[in-house]
Symmetry: C2
Subunit: 223 residues, 2 copies
């Protein structure tokens, strides 16, 4: 399998239509996120579980009435808007994604705060180390794309786990620290308010601008 600029789908949707669609299907994903969370925590008995499963299956059948098998992919329109609704970190239609919302700052740093509940657990009461890696990989890739002005892929990612990160609100930040031709180095950290300036996880990543993307018309992170 190869990725190329053909992997991105031009769309006839206007930005207004994209935003209406995000509101509609994003609302559904939001409800499913609550369901995922309570399904981990519930203690109701077998009869109530059977009733809940029946409702979940009915909902699934309604949505399956018209559902092509393909994953969501990445799309863009002529207004410069792009969207990746199925993305595992930021996809607004993906109930697995928290979803993370990124903020680009004038200083070049990218930041985000996100609430991680019971579904992101690894050690007891803590964020799974791999979930920290998932979120850091994503924010670092988006950072390397320089606010979506170039297309990049992850080359190498190194994570240092310094202390356990409790479930709840976490914050992360990433910035470019070096650029050399097609290689972009990004550093990042992930923490929480209780730790102040001390990060729970630090990361360094080497991101690459693929040869095929240098002359291409598309841009963004391929995470």
């Amino acid at each position: 399998m190869t990725l190329s600029s053909m992997s991105f789908n031009p769309s006839g949707l206007s930005t207004a239509e994209v935003e209406a669609s995000e509101l509609l299907y994003g609302g559904l994903a939001g409800d499913i996120r609550l369901l995922v969370d309570v399904a981990i925590r519930t203690r109701v008995g077998a009869d109530r579980i059977a009733a809940a499963r029946d409702l979940v299956r009915q909902a699934e059948q309604i949505l399956a009435e018209d559902a092509p098998p393909e994953p969501a992919g990445i799309h863009f329109n002529t207004e410069g808007r792009s969207w990746n609704w199925g993305n595992a970190v930021v996809g607004v239609r993906n109930a697995i994604a928290p979803p993370v919302v990124l903020r680009w700052s004038d200083d070049g740093a990218v930041r985000s705060e996100v609430d991680l509940g019971a579904a992101y657990e690894g050690p007891p009461g803590c964020v799974h180390g791999g979930v920290s890696a998932l979120m850091l990989d994503h924010i670092m890739g988006e950072t390397a794309s320089a606010a979506h002005t170039r297309l990049i892929v992850t080359g190498t990612l190194t994570l240092r786990y310094l202390r356990p990160l409790p479930l709840g609100r976490v914050h992360m930040q990433a910035q470019i620290t070096n650029e050399d031709d097609r290689k972009v180095t990004v550093t990042a950290h992930l923490g929480c308010e209780a730790y102040g300036d001390e990060p729970a996880v630090e990361a360094t990543g080497l991101f690459i601008v693929p040869r095929w993307a240098r002359e291409g018309s598309v841009s963004g992170s391929l995470d």
Copy 2:
């Protein structure tokens, strides 16, 4: 926040009761996984989305009738069985987890095959690089725990991304390559059938046996 052997909860449940519970609540999580997937792919209109959301909310309310706020945690019983139902990678009650099922081999390697659908997307049609990191971190941590005979935490994790990994069935393998007092080095790779022996992602991890765990009675990966 600190982790200690007190982070693990002794349980009065028998192994038979644990397995019955996994069947009951795991079935619910399985249904929700299908819902998460189709909610990304569906094209049904606003009226059908409203109907599906109503069903999802009803299911959520049933499960919330008795649902303590705490995450699932890690529990163990006197028969040597332990369970982490909310784990983001292997938790059978967590619809975010594929869930990954690990196989311990006589040669010391740990292997797993897993089907990754639309909810694990990053690049178009491909597994999110961070999802690869999430799964590798988990299998490597379990490997370092030497089949749950000691307790470990992740110190450093390095991932090398060699080629895009298509969504679908993927396989991974991890093995211990060095041990030095409290430090355990694990290597791993992730690939798919189309690539044969060529991995899509390679990883090296340094895992640590925490001081408090050396004389403790608990064991396992803290991922």
